[in-house]
């Protein structure tokens, strides 16, 4: 008896699941391989909402994305927060989960956003400990995501690429590489985005985020690029995706994130097609 044919891993393309986009996503599942659900939106969800997500997960690939654990803190992540991720994965049948390399609280102070910790030995050790604990409690290893920051993280003695590589290799995890975050950090702090990309552990990239942002004014005439998720993905991010496709041969999951000023679904699907074309062009250039 012949065994089942092995499924060849392939690149996948999807959208962040938002209630405002739900109808459009459901009407175009033929053009979307997977959706990414913000885990924190569903920690307190009613049973019928979780059953709806489970039904959705049976139709299209689904992954969970956490935003409030603070994995890259020197303080331990509370196990009750990890328990909630574990329960949500079990309830929805999600294929996996991810979180940010950020700290979000300290000493009882809630920052209310993803903050870049000092890039130091201590935060590397803290992140590796937290990721190990998360994997044990949740039951599967998260992907970890690079964040955008408007401030050069104070009291850092490693640069972003070194810091990320040390955590990814030290914790034995794969990277969810947000290319707009990479781009924003590069232009805000005088780096070349493509050089920064090449210095990351590209063999560990499993997934990619694409989003947009806008320039904001600061003191003394300063301008910085804010990653806001309410603008279209810029050409520079697609160029980075093409380069990533050239340099990283492994299958990648690419997700476009949009958190507001929602355009017609057709525009997001067009951006997904642009992402497909960019990654394919990179693959072709490497062949």
């Amino acid at each position: 008896m012949a065994g089942a044919a092995a499924v060849e891993p392939r690149d996948q393309f999807g959208l962040g699941w938002r209630p405002e986009l739900a109808a459009g996503i459901l009407a175009h599942l033929d053009r979307i391989d997977l959706i990414e659900v913000i885990a924190d939106d569903y920690f307190d969800a009613a049973g019928h909402d979780l059953r709806a997500l489970r039904t959705l997960a049976a139709q299209v690939g689904m992954v969970l994305h956490g935003v409030s654990l603070g994995l890259a803190s020197t303080a331990p992540v509370a196990s009750r927060r990890l328990d909630r991720i574990a329960r949500l994965i079990q309830a929805t049948g999600a294929e996996g989960w991810s979180e940010h390399l950020a700290f979000v609280r300290a000493g009882g102070v809630e920052i209310g956003h993803l903050a870049a910790p000092p890039r130091s030995e201590a935060s590397i050790e803290g992140a590796c400990r937290n990721i190990d604990c998360a994997a044990r409690i949740v039951g599967c290893v998260p992907l970890v995501e690079n964040i955008a920051t408007l401030v050069a993280p104070p009291v850092s003695h490693l640069d972003e690429a070194e810091w990320i590589e040390r955590i990814v290799r030290g914790a034995g995890v794969n990277l969810l590489l947000d290319l707009h975050n990479l781009y924003a950090n590069a232009v805000n702090f005088g780096d070349d985005p493509h050089t920064l990309l090449r210095r990351l552990p590209l063999d560990r990239v499993a997934s990619v985020h694409l989003s947009g942002g806008h320039w904001i004014d600061g003191p003394n005439g300063a301008r910085r690029l804010l990653d806001d998720h309410v603008h279209d993905v810029p050409a520079e991010a697609f160029a980075l995706l093409r380069e990533l496709g050239r340099l990283a041969p492994q299958p990648l999951t690419v997700i476009i994130e949009r958190d507001g000023r929602y355009p017609p679904i057709a525009r997001l699907l067009d951006q997904l097609d642009t992402a497909r074309a960019a990654l394919a062009a990179g693959r072709e250039a490497a062949a």
């Binding site: 939106d41 803190s73 209310g112 903050a115 910790p117 201590a122 300063a222």
Partner: protein
Amino acid sequence: MSSPALEEFLARLYTDEPALAEFLQMPTETARAAGLGDAEVSALAGADHIGLVMAAASFRVKRQRRKIRHWPWHWWRG
């Protein structure tokens, strides 16, 4: 370098406008008063002050949106 105390100090700069203003005027004294070590105090004196102001303002907007409108968590990031 880098410690829970340092993270707490940074969290206060990002969430407490008077604390940030005091730090920007007297970074060394403020950091020392928070009990940080010499190396951290020295590094903070040369920190990216423009970025601190911009990041704190951005975080403040996110917190206000959540408080006023009960935004779902995905608004936490954008």
